[in-house]
Symmetry: C2
Subunit: 291 residues, 2 copies
């Protein structure tokens, strides 16, 4: 496994691979790799000859400096995990390389970046789309893989890729969960025992919504109320959002659900009452089958 | 000479050229090609094996719909000029291909896009940087050539290319002038005979500033006054701006000029008093040698 640090080196490597007729896949990560990331690596492997993983904690997508500082950084573990997973190249750029001095340059996706996390994390998606543009331009991949857990991010990146014409295929990797249903996230480590237990209300509310739909319920308002009630059982948390939207355009669902519908949820947890854990914001989602 | 219309076809062509070890140059144009453009083609030829000219009147960089509608469109002449100049590929995308339906996506360069034309043409540079990103991603060139006449555009694109990390070399082509000094522009055709004569005050004021500097003048205020006075002789026009700035960062020059200094000028012409010609905005600039 090669570890590459400079952009120029990565571009030259990718150009040579492309010239040799090999397909290159990119899995952008912020490190702190877990089984969810490794499943993205597997998907990448199935679609390309060479798999690049980038590890970069991107400062511009953190609206909360505490979240940025506290974000887990475990480079040695990450490199070992990549090696074990058969990754070909790990790219570990420095902040100064991706954000050189001078006038700031941003890539902005309007509309679909505005609701949900866009509303709760001002500037977040501008940071994401800008850094992903830089990662794409450095790795020059044929295909890039992003987790479906960050569904809005995936939708925003799909839109950006199409509109700017990168010519890169975007794949969404299925969410990997703990055996009890909690979606894997690098931020889960911040949960105290009480928060960890209550965090199950998220995946439970996703299942509950599907169950109610399977039982015949179609009313947006009724389903929303059921979900909010279930989430309310997580007393250590407050609901940032719980919304039913179109999976592609992210427009709000109508009065009665029709066709596949995204249920997107974000919860903001406090530390446990006894002080264990720390503040942490978790998101999850499910595309509900509505027949 | 190949004429390519779709983005996918151009990307495939460029990938094949790159894989074969040939260097690709891109000259982005809005058509209505004149000797200035052809000189950019020559520069491109000197730096690459294959020269691509894109012809696309980009709607998003026109802040004035009349300017967009009135912009000269002469595709047959342009193709003939490219053929005669030995261009390898002409790319003629349609608006729908570069701006597919869906959420708008923008590339924004802050700060250096704000003064000068940025102030007088709101949204102009956002349109330029967005379309140039799309052209770069489609043509995948090693080098791209832009005219120095649009100095701020060149500075903005250099900054964008560096900050996003395209890995593309940006070259500025020298301004080509009529024998009397008027900088070539596709918009010159709109000048009536009176406006055409008065438009000479622009290049004259650039020379005047250099002359005064060569004679020992360094005062920003004095030089500015001399330039404004000269431009005032163009009674059919009003001055949008005439400013002394740093050639790279576009920051305003200090009280006394030091080192190479950009003098950037924009004039807005009315139609001639007898109704000949039409409204037209002309820009020109010179990097003044200050020793």
């Amino acid at each position: 496994m090669q570890v590459i640090s400079t952009r120029a080196e990565l571009q030259a490597w990718s150009d040579a691979e492309r010239a040799a007729g090999r397909r290159v896949a990119l899995v952008p990560t912020m490190g702190a790799l877990h089984a969810g990331h490794l499943s993205l690596v597997e998907t990448a492997r199935a679609h390309a000859d060479q798999v690049v993983v980038s590890i970069f904690v991107n400062p511009t997508q953190f609206n909360d400096p505490k979240d940025f500082e506290g974000y887990p950084r475990v480079m040695e573990d990450d490199l070992a995990a990549c090696r074990a997973a058969g990754v070909d190249v790990v790219w570990t750029p420095q902040v100064e390389e991706l954000y050189p001095d001078g006038a700031p340059v941003w890539v902005d996706v309007e509309e679909i970046s505005e609701p949900l996390c866009g509303q709760n994390r001002p500037g977040h998606f501008r940071g994401v789309t800008t850094v992903v543009t830089k990662l794409f331009l450095a790795a020059r991949p044929h295909v890039a893989v992003f987790g479906q857990k960050d569904w809005q991010q995936l939708a925003v990146i799909r839109r950006m890729t199409e509109a700017l014409g990168f010519g890169i295929e975007i794949l969404g990797g299925e969410t990997v969960r703990e055996s009890d249903g909690l979606a894997l996230s690098s931020r889960n480590v911040h949960l105290g025992p009480v928060g960890r237990k209550q965090a199950l209300r998220i995946s439970e509310s996703l299942s509950l919504a599907q169950q109610r739909i399977d039982d015949g319920e179609r009313s947006h308002a009724v389903l929303c109320e059921a979900v909010i009630k279930k989430l309310g059982e997580a007393t250590q948390a407050r609901v940032d959002y719980a919304e039913f939207r179109d999976p592609t355009t992210l427009e709000l669902a109508g009065e009665n659900l029709q066709g596949p519908t995204l249920l997107a949820i974000a919860l903001q947890f406090d530390a446990d009452p006894d002080g264990q854990g720390a503040e942490v914001r978790l998101i999850d989602n499910r595309v509900l089958a509505v027949r």
